[in-house]
Symmetry: C2
Subunit: 317 residues, 2 copies
């Protein structure tokens, strides 16, 4: 099987609250057609792609919250995307809010799926690193209530697809080196990441101007230090009064940016990714079997922060 | 106590085999004086600063190998540096090859010390990530026998000094995200790193042209993702026919480069580092207590590579 994957970035511009899922899916389909015309095997869409980024609002009504979630995938609204995928032979990576039924318990996740070139779901991921806060904080210009609306996922896995080993992550995951490492230890050759990142970060507005730089730095370091391709795809632009960064980009295992989106609107960019290009890194500088030193890394799992142990109790040295 | 540390990068140009330690120490002292004239509280010198980078040679004679090592610190050759430190009130970070006596066993380490403004050793570190190889590989243009000449250190620690929490690392450590994280989990606000990095990397010459980029990327990611200052200092230039990168630089907790050396010779650069600048990152995006998920990081310590468990046996999933 070929080890070349032509990967398209399917960046989305803003999605307003009044936009129906059908309308968003039509935009996703349009980008899939553009990607197909460019020879894409796979198109990567953002986090929570089907609706506006609702964690910016404090909502108390369960039905209103649920209106942003999908109960099944595919469903009526997204079926056209799966059909087009099958028809064109273009796989996709899609983020959405998932309402799961776990033995009668309703559980909400920030999720993503990987769909192969036959329109079949071959991988699913639930976001591990939920940023923001859980309680209403009226002093903020807007909320970031991911810790309120979502239950965190419990693990990073990889999927055999597109001729290689593919890892999945979502948004804030990309800033944590552990994300890439845990997947690289399972052989990840490409990591797909969708995101929604407001330009303004209320707890640290001092670095609003650096948002694009931090995005790129995190993706580049994750790629280089694990010898894998990394695709990061935004939903950007002005959504319900809140501006989010674009800056979607595709990074080679060398850490070099090979393509990027230039707007904050719906935009497709593509690159030809040779999964065999990972080997030069994975067999030299980042040959984990030769060079890693897990015996010196214990604190990474023993400790959550400086003050808390991994189980959340107060850390005792 | 002030939380401002004026940090000088004390980059060294090449040290040839014929250069005596006394001559090298004179160069280090000259840079310390320059740094003092710029208001430095601390000057950071490279890895294995006192001699040429001898792991490029395959040596069999124990006495010859030992000639590159220090049996005590300070010793006669380095005493002038400690005295000047005390006299000027400038602390320093210095890498050297250490020959330790452990209950009658001679053990060789790639080590570094942190010296306070009173000329007292307040911290010591032994390199955890030894790159290269252990056996003679004649096909290489030159050897990189760190795995032969050194025993690996077992842990990353931090030292309370210069009004803050200081971490120490050496060369290849800087490419591993675990290095910074283990120290940040102990509160590191500044990480000091000396290095010797040949431009040519025999197992992966494809990325020789990217050496400076990879150096900078690793230092920037380590700083940003842990909200700490990072100083990386080279011994660069043409040493015994082998060219090494310079590119010494100082990175803020924002990931921004605040100063750098421009040559591959002896060169001092300085920046005013406010340790309180770490807090904006450590209390927001990288508030570990709020946002890390150690329960999802288990593989980082359980597994060495894709195929080996942490204890070196074959990994079984």
């Amino acid at each position: 099987m070929s080890r070349i994957v032509n990967v398209a970035l399917g960046q989305l511009g803003p999605v307003q609250r009044s936009d129906t899922r059908e309308r968003v899916v039509a935009r996703l389909c349009e980008m899939m057609r553009e990607a197909h015309a460019l020879g894409a095997h796979l198109i990567v869409y953002p986090e929570l792609a089907l609706t506006t980024f609702f964690p910016r609002w404090y909502l108390e009504d369960d039905a209103e919250i649920d209106s942003f979630f999908e109960r099944e995938m595919p469903n009526t609204a997204t079926q056209p995307l799966f059909e087009l995928s099958r028809q064109l032979g273009v796989g996709f990576y899609l983020g959405y809010a998932e309402l799961a039924d776990e033995g009668g318990m309703r559980v909400r996740y920030n999720s993503s799926i990987l769909v192969d070139r036959g329109g079949r779901i071959v991988g699913k991921y639930r976001k591990v690193h939920l940023p923001g806060h859980a309680e209403h904080e009226p002093w903020r210009r807007f909320q970031h209530l991911e810790k309120r609306y979502f239950t965190p996922g419990q693990r990073f896995g990889v999927t055999q697809a597109f001729g290689g080993t593919i890892g999945m992550a979502i948004c804030n995951d990309r800033r944590w080196a552990e994300t890439y490492r845990v997947m690289a230890l399972q052989g990840a050759e490409m990591v797909l990441i969708g995101y929604n990142t407001p330009v303004h970060n209320a707890p640290a507005p001092q670095h609003d101007d650096l948002s694009l730089f931090h995005n790129q730095l995190s993706l580049q370091a994750g790629a280089y230090q694990n010898g894998c391709w990394v695709a990061g795809v935004a939903k950007g632009g002005l959504e319900e009064g809140v501006d989010s960064i674009g800056g979607s980009l595709l990074v080679a295992p060398s850490g070099e940016v090979v393509t990027r989106c230039l707007s904050k609107d719906d935009e497709v960019a593509i690159a030809r990714c040779d999964l065999d290009f990972c080997a030069v890194y994975k067999r030299s500088t980042f040959n984990f079997d030769l060079h890693r030193r897990p015996e010196a890394y214990g604190l990474i799992v023993a400790r959550k922060g400086e003050t808390l142990a991994a189980d959340g109790t107060l850390w005792r040295d």
